[in-house]
Symmetry: C2
Subunit: 134 residues, 2 copies
Amino acid sequence: MPQNTRSTQQRRLIMELMEGNYSHPTADEVYELARAKEPRISRGTVYRNLNLLSDENKIRRLSMPIGPDHFDCNTDNHYHFLCHACFHVFDTNIKYKESLNADPAGMPGFKTEWHRLILVGLCPECAAKEKKGT
Amino acid sequence: MPQNTRSTQQRRLIMELMEGNYSHPTADEVYELARAKEPRISRGTVYRNLNLLSDENKIRRLSMPIGPDHFDCNTDNHYHFLCHACFHVFDTNIKYKESLNADPAGMPGFKTEWHRLILVGLCPECAAKEKKGT
DNA sequence: GTAACTGCAAACACTTTGCGAAGCA
DNA sequence: TGCTTCGCAAAGTGTTTGCAGTTAC
């Protein structure tokens, strides 16, 4: 990260697109949204800004067991559900377990900084489609 | 997956390398191990066989929030710790929560098939190095 | 003025895939 | 014999990076 970050048009646009966007978009989805408003914006700029905003904790990067990373405007600790059919990401109601970041029992010396819990399966819509198809 | 899978030299070699190997190697590490015994083996073959063996549940694919996938000869459900300095993967002693695969409370319609919990931080060795460096 | 940032394109890391030859059942 | 698998190389996906020009402060 540079010492002084600046407020550029592109950065403001990307932050605006993320604010209040609870769809957990991928970098490419943000790129498409951004391009609709600012056609000259480049993919590199979107990636760079998403990385910078994550580093500044203004958004959260969500790495998935399948496919590209997603980004979340909600930086509160919470867990996600990934549908392996439509690849949408959903928030879960599972309570965040702060205790998992404490030294895991029986693993002295390990310093946990963060943890990731992801459920993978089918969302209601895709589960219904699956049923119909069978 | 094909209807009938065969027992080839390469597949047997890769399975042998995985059996009793608790170091959670990446595909590339398996490739290097395999090449030491069978120099003509190709990367594609290693990837194909690791995928096939995972599909057959003879090994387990571990997707990490950083870096390439790892593979585990232990197919029992358990959780892992990733050191973000040396990128080694360790088994944790955290009890597997079967209940997370039940319908998450308050999320009717979602069908969870599996879940992944990964702790990220520093292993004892890298934590010690970090301390020294500071 | 100058460090931070941009667009662009090339490079990168990891993985999959198309093909013709070889091998297992 | 016929389907599976192989080695090889090329392509695919998602992301980062070097560069020369531009912009914020």
